[in-house]
Each structure stands twice: as C-alpha cells, then as structure tokens.
C-alpha cells in the first residue's frame, strides 16, 4: 500500500515599503531612476558612514504587525547579516535576528476548500540590496555592473508558520498579504517590479505524522502564478521521490519559469553562515504603548473585514464582495458611490459589469476613468427615477467613462432623456399599431409575446428613449380592452 502524504508549506515574503526615503539615509526610493542616481555615502557603505533609522519605516512595520494580528515588541533591535556579494556594499545587511518588530500573528484566508487561519511567525525590518546587471550568470559573464539605487530601500520580511497544506492555500495567503499591505498603503506590492517577493519552504510528511519532512527552499517565483506553479511542481517532485523510496534532500531550489520546473541551486553544506550579531551602529528600538496606539489609529478596515461586511451588512453575493474588496481602490470607489446611493446590489451589478469591463479594456485603475463616484451615483438615480432607461444608461456610462462629463450633461447634450410623456408617445404607438397588423392580430388573439415585439418597434423608432414600461402599458390599453 502506498503512503499518503501531506504537504507542508511556509512562506517568507519580502515587502518593499513605499516610504519616500530609504531606511538608513535620506536618499529617494523612487523606482526607475538612472543607475546609482539615488545613492549617497551612507547607502554606498563608504568607510566611516553610519546608518540613521528612518522613523516612518518603523511606523509602517508596526502597522503591518498590527494588521497581521501580531504582538508588537516593546524592545527590538537590529543585527548584521554578514555575507559577500557585489550588490551588498557593506558586505552585511542590516536586518533583525532575534528581536523582530512583531511576532505571533495570524491571518484568515479563504480558498474553495474553506476558511483557514495561517500563523505569522514574525515581521522584521531590513534593508534591500542593489541590483547586478550582467550577461548570463555572474560566474560566466565577462563583467558586471552594479546599480545601488535599491540599496537601503526598506523591506519587511513576513515569515509564516508552516501552516499551509496546499499550493492554493499558499497563493491565497500571499494574495491576502498583498491586499492587506495595499489597504495599509505601505507598499506597491508589485511582484514584477520586485516590491513583493516570495520564497517558500516545502516539505511532505506521511499523513498523521507530527514531525516535519525534509524541506526544500524555493526561490525566484516572480508572479502569483509562478508561486502556485512552482509549489505544485515541487510537491509533485517530492512526492515522486518518496514514492520511489528515495529521500528528499535539504537544499535551495530555484523556479525556472521557461522550463516550468525547479532546479537545485545549493545544498545544505553550501548554506551561508551569516554570523549575525547586534548592529553596534544603531541603538535598540523601543516602541512604547503610545506609539503603538498612534499606529493602530492609522489602520483602515482591512480586506477580510470589509469582505464580510459587504456580505452580511450590504447583502452582496460572496463573489461580488470578493471582487470588490480584492482591489482596494475598487472597494473605496464602491463605498464612495454608496454614500450617495443606497442600493448596494444594483451598484455592485454596475461595477462588476460595465465598469470592470471598461477598466479592463483600458487597463485603468478605478480612479483613472472619467467616471467619478458621485457621477455614477447620479446616473443610477436617473435610472431609478425613469429619467433614462437601463439600456440608454449603458450608452451614457460609456460616454461618462471616456469624457468625464456628468450624466445630466450627457443626457441633455445627446437628447437621451427617456420619453415618459404619454401624449408624446401616443402618435408613435398608433403608427406602430398601424404598420404591424399581424402582430396586432396576435396580441388580440392573446399572444402575449407579440406585445414585446411591438414595444421593441417603438423603442427602435424612438432610438431607445421611450419608457418601455409605459409603452407596454399603452399597447395593452389600446389593444387588449
């Protein structure tokens, strides 16, 4: 009988904080500058320079810790992580070893399989390294250039407990983290630009066994789908080894996107000894209750709370609530409209339909389109008040989207106002009755469906402006009595 295995996954996620200046000097963190433009003696690690901690960075780390339900350390400190690499100008990275800013947290995630709590071991602060530019691998390339713009950009590393049991859970956890960071507005969380990076520890153990199996560390997964694919591949690889009676070796493996597989980078023996020790150039970090409370006040409603509120208080379907809260701006937009308009479901339909369609077509974020929340609220009210029809509204909405004009102006300028005046419609309805004797006969013989045809003809004649409900009623009055 073959053994059944359980997958165990833990993630180490690096999040670049979007402070204006670097963690230990005044240099800008702006992305996309000329190489080495954002540098100074401190972040270049020139002899004699010293780090000075940017308080804003600690603010953000405390916020992240609180949002992940962690305990915030009253006493924290920085340590040096020593290793040689050309992108690391001091040959050590200032990080935190045994006393991180935050510890012992957890977050709730949801997958198709249900709801899970994933433990957050710790959140610690550190500085980013620079970037090497060379042909092929550094060992083979003739030369290499270094860009230190990224050196000293603040990072938090969020380490999870080994609580995830499937790649889908890992992806959901990562997605939840990204959303939380976006809601806190402390990171751009762009995996392609590297402001969100994810490493994974993966192991398998026989179902029911307490002890963890031997793990592989997985690196270089540069997108959400890469994380899921990389983990799926790795689980299969380890499963294959175990089924053949072989052993998994402890090693670091890299995900190769083009080959669609993981490749061994280095074994346990080649693992670094980072020789951590307390950073003597910085004083310990003390976070008092007042500072913590000040940061707690900065924390907005988080995605998971909002998701639940949209379902339970606004009555939205889970799917809608998920889509709307999945993007911070979209949820903000939604709630801004709701402050002027009180039918959440109707609003949700519009946003999930026309609005998202146009945003996707134009690659816009919600606030980049011509539709402001207040104008969308106005338009929805115009539909409710029969000033425009739902069909015309789609036309109006697209014009709002492209022009930025308010719906009243568009309706006015384009003459799109719904015709709800019976006298005005009377002649048209009569003309349609006269021109469609067969349909009229059908109606008179009790064929309800033929009324729809006649209404359609009136709508066509009025280019969609006629109030369809009214036209329907008028036809019934004229033909069925």
């Amino acid at each position: 009988m073959t053994t059944k295995y359980e997958t165990v996954i833990g993630l180490e996620v690096h999040v670049q904080l979007n402070t204006e200046s670097k963690i230990f000097c005044g240099c800008s963190t702006e992305f996309g500058k000329e190489p080495n433009e954002n540098t100074c003696p401190v972040c270049l690690g020139l002899p004699g320079t010293l780090p000075v901690l940017n308080k804003k960075v600690v603010d953000y780390a405390i916020m992240a810790g609180l949002a992940l339900n962690c305990d915030i350390a009253e006493y924290s400190k920085f340590d040096r992580k020593n290793y040689f690499y050309p992108d690391l100008p001091k040959a050590y990275q200032i990080s935190q070893f045994d006393l991180p800013v935050a510890e012992n947290g957890e977050i709730e995630i949801e997958t198709e399989a249900g709801i899970f709590n994933i433990g957050v071991t710790r959140v610690h602060l550190e500085e980013d390294a620079g970037k090497l530019i060379h042909e092929g691998s550094i060992d083979k390339s003739k030369g290499s250039l270094v860009d230190y713009n990224r050196t000293g950009v603040p990072l938090i590393e969020i380490v999870s407990e080994p609580d995830m049991r499937t790649p889908a859970q890992a992806k959901a956890y990562l997605t939840e983290l990204k959303m939380i960071m976006e809601y806190l507005d402390i990171s751009d969380c762009n995996m392609e630009e590297g402001s969100l990076r994810c490493d994974a520890n993966v192991s398998l153990r026989p179902v029911g066994q307490e002890e963890f199996g031997i793990k592989a560390e997985l690196k270089n997964m540069n997108s959400f789908s890469a994380v899921e694919k990389g983990l799926e591949y790795e689980v299969k690889r380890q499963q294959g080894l175990l089924d053949e009676g072989k052993k998994v070796v402890q090693e670091t493996r890299t995900w190769d996107e083009s080959l669609n597989k993981t490749i061994s980078m280095r074994g346990k023996e080649e693992a670094h000894d980072y020789r951590y020790f307390p950073e003597p150039d910085l004083v310990p970090l003390e976070i008092d209750a007042a500072w913590k409370e000040e940061m707690r006040k900065e924390i907005p409603e988080l995605p998971r709370e909002k998701y639940k509120r949209f379902i339970f208080e606004l009555g939205l379907p889970e799917y809608d609530a998920g889509v709307l809260t999945g993007d911070k701006d979209l949820s903000v937009f939604f709630e801004e409209v709701l402050s002027d308009y009180d039918d959440p479901k109707n609003l949700s339909n519009w946003m999930m339909g026309e609005f998202l369609r146009l945003l996707n077509e134009n690659s816009h974020s919600p606030f980049e389109s011509g539709v402001s929340p207040i104008n969308l609220a106005k338009m929805l009210k115009m539909i409710d008040q029969d000033i425009i029809s739902g069909k015309i509204a789609k036309e109006v909405f697209e014009k709002m989207y492209n022009s930025g004009k308010d719906p009243e102006t568009i309706v006015e300028e384009e003459g799109l106002k719904q015709i709800s005046d019976q006298d005005e419609l009377d002649n048209i309805v009569d003309a349609i009755i006269e021109d469609n004797p067969e349909a009229v006969e059908d109606v008179e013989n009790g064929k309800e469906r033929a009324i729809g045809f006649l209404v359609g003809q009136v709508m066509k004649e009025t280019r969609g402006k006629a109030n369809p409900g009214l036209v329907n009623q008028m036809l019934r009055d004229k033909l069925m009595n």
Binding site: P41, L44, G45, L46, P47, G48, T49, L50, P51, V52, L53, R80, N82, F84, P86, P89, K90, A91, Y92, I138, D139, S144, V146, D273, R275, Y276, F277, P280, D281, L282, V283
Partner: protein
Amino acid sequence: MNIYDLTIHELKEKIAAGELTPAEIKKAYADRINEVEDRVKSYVTVTDELAEQDLAEYENKKEALLAGIPIAVKDNMSTDGIKTSCGSKMLENYNPPYNATVVEKLNAAGAVIMGKTNMDEFAMGSSTENSAFFDTHNPWNLNHAPGGSSGGSAAAVAAGECAAALGSDTGGSIRQPASYCGVVGLKPTYGMVSRYGLVAFASSLDQIGPITKDVEDSAILMNVIAGHDPKDSTSIAGQKEDYTKYLKEDVSGMKIGIPEEYFNLEFDEEVKASVLAAVEKLKEAGAEVETVHMTDASYALAAYYVIAPAEASSNLARYDGVRYGLRSEQAADVSEMFTNTRHEGFGDEVKRRIMIGTYALSSGYYDAYYLKAQKVRTLIKDDFDRIFNDFDLIITPTAPSTAIELGSKSDPLEMYHTDIFTVPINIAGVPAMSVPCGFDSSEMPIGLQLIGPHFGEGKIIQAAYTLEKLLNINEKRAEL
C-alpha cells in the same frame, strides 16, 4: 620658545595680542614638518594646499575656537577629496567624497589642517608598525615606536609638526601613544564625539579624541569636537559642556581610587614609581586617595580581543574591490576578485583579527566567544560603576612600559598585552586621559591614566590640570 612648541592656547593668545599672525604660525609648522618629517615620519599625507585654503578662510572665522591653529588628523577620519588610507594598502588610493563630522567641526572652528597622520593599519596595533607604508619614530628617541595606533598623531604633536591632533581610541590608541610621546591624550565617554566619518574598526568601542601638548588644549579641542550628531545614532544627545571651566588647580576632597589588581600586575618598576609619586603629589594637594579592588584587567583584555575582532571582521568586509580602493588584477571571477583583493590589500595583523572575529561569530562558537565576551563586558561596566559610586576618579599607569623599541615585539600576544591598562576603559565606555607624569632613566616619557565615570571628562580635566601644574614638566619638549 619656538612657535612650533607653543600650545593652542598660547598661539591663540599671541594671535589675539597681535604678536603672531596665522600665516606666520602656519609657516612655522610647515617649516618644522620640512625639518623633521624625514626622521619622524608622522604624516601619510601633508595637506599643504588644504592648509593654505583653511588659512585663506581665517578672516571669516576669526572668532572661532581654533582660528588659525594648525591641527593634524589621523588618517582614519574621512576628508573630502583627500586620501584617507587608514594606513592600509587597501585604501592607498581612496579619496572619500565627504568629511567626517569632526573634520567639519574643525573646519567650522577655523582650524588649519596640516595633514593626515600615520597609524597602524585600520587602527589595529600598538606601535604604528602595522602601517602598510612606513614606521613612525618616537620624537624622544627615534629608535623607539611612538605607540599606536594613533602613533602618527602623537608623534606629530610631540615633534611640533602640529599644535594638536585628533586620534581615535578603540583599546588605548590615543592614550598609549600619548604616554609614549609625552603628550596629553583623552579618550572621551563613548558617544561623546561623533563617529560619523571615522573609518570603523570596532564600532562599539571606537571613539575620537584630542592629542595635545597640555591639558588646557585638550579642553579646548573637546569644546570643538564634542556634542550630539544626528548622523551618529550612538552619539549622546544633550547639552554640551564648556570643558575649559574645569581648568582649575584644585583636587581638594576629590576621591581617587588606586586599583590594587592593576598595580599588582607585572610591569616596569620605573613606570610604577613615577605614577605612584604623582599620586602622592595629588594627595598632598588635598585629594583623598584610597586603594580599591577591581576585576582583574586580564578579563577585559580577553573580552576585548573577542569583541573588537568580531566587529572588525564585519566592518572590514566591505573592502572587496568592487567600489573603491584596491582591486586585485589577478582574478578569474568575482569570488576570486574578493579573495585576492583582500589577500593583497590587508596586512597580517588585520587578517589575523578578521579571522579571529569571523571565528568568534561563527555558528556553534558564537555563544562560547562573542556572547561570553559581552557578558564579561557587562561585568566590567558594573565594576567601574561600583567604584564610581564612591570615587571621583581612578588612576592607573597608561602603559606597562615607556615606548618600546621599533621592531622589538614580534609576538602579537606580547603586543596585545601592552593594552592591559587601557582596554578596560573602552570596554566600560568611560572616559580616560593619559597625562605625562615623569621620565624613566632613559629620558623616555611616562604616562599616567586618569579614569572618570561616564561624562566625567570635567573631573578628569580638573585633576589632570592640577597634576600638570604640580609636576611642572609639560614644557619639556623632545629634542630633534
């Protein structure tokens, strides 16, 4: 007296009285450098051009504390556009793009910077023989070492090649050369002077301080360089003192501890006699002198030779040939470039300490070495705190002997032992000053160490000033 023999305060008086102009002073010191530098070799770089520029600024800075005063700076303090070699081949061609905070402060105070002084490579050594470039000679006897690692600064002051100098002290590197060269050297409380721009050796121990011809100059220079610096997180916030207010001949009622465990160590009898005679003078002047018991200094020495190399192994890792300084030409790949650059660029003592420090921090050894040393450090701090609950100052010799002969100590451990009296002070983070207290039978100067509690520089200055007046030997100069 020659102009180059004058102290800062004497030069200031003569400028104020119109007896000397800054240009005459600068010329006198520049001439002195030309006259004796061949023999003393204090300077790695003589910055005559910079001195001329500083002099040209004089009119704008007339009122400043060091206006027109020739000062030398140890070659491990960053000077914008001027070679800062740290006595190492690694940085032989390194011109930093910024000034250390102390250099900025000297500039603001109107100092005329004469040059960058020789030192043991990366401040690791006690004789300046570990300089990658050349030996510096003791002005009192050219066959002897000036001490180290600030040997160039101490020799330059003693030889009249500057009015005063800045040194740095990690385990005695200001006080021991001051003692060997018969000048005054102060290591301030850790954090009292900004380390920004001081090329790090052991960050938790390094401190910049003045090396001067007398105690009054030390107080003046402290007024210039002390104080909080936002660029150095370990620099102490708070009000800056006027150290010249402690220039009083008064030790009456001052309680001075004489640690028996230090005096019981085996060291030069002439040094011991001279120090104890000076203590006797203070007693006669009204100080209350008592024997005290302290932790054996050898524990501090052991802790020091773990902590300092550990920090150094990390601080010196950045010299990899990538960005500045030496880069080995002999390298097939990046890892070889690192290895060969460090192999070619560092001297033996630096390599030795990097290896000791790397070992002490390695996984599996960290607890036994680094962590244990940190615990010893706490005990030593507590030990000093305990004494300073009851005493104003502690007095010990500065060094176990007078200046050693150049080339006489080849065993590193024997050399480390010359730091026995000075190292515990850095471990505890307290201030201490070496003041000349006499000469041995070979006419080599002897230094006495005054140790104070944290922020006790004032008391040290007051006692040292009194002692200087009592002994009346501070006008004696080395003959060259």
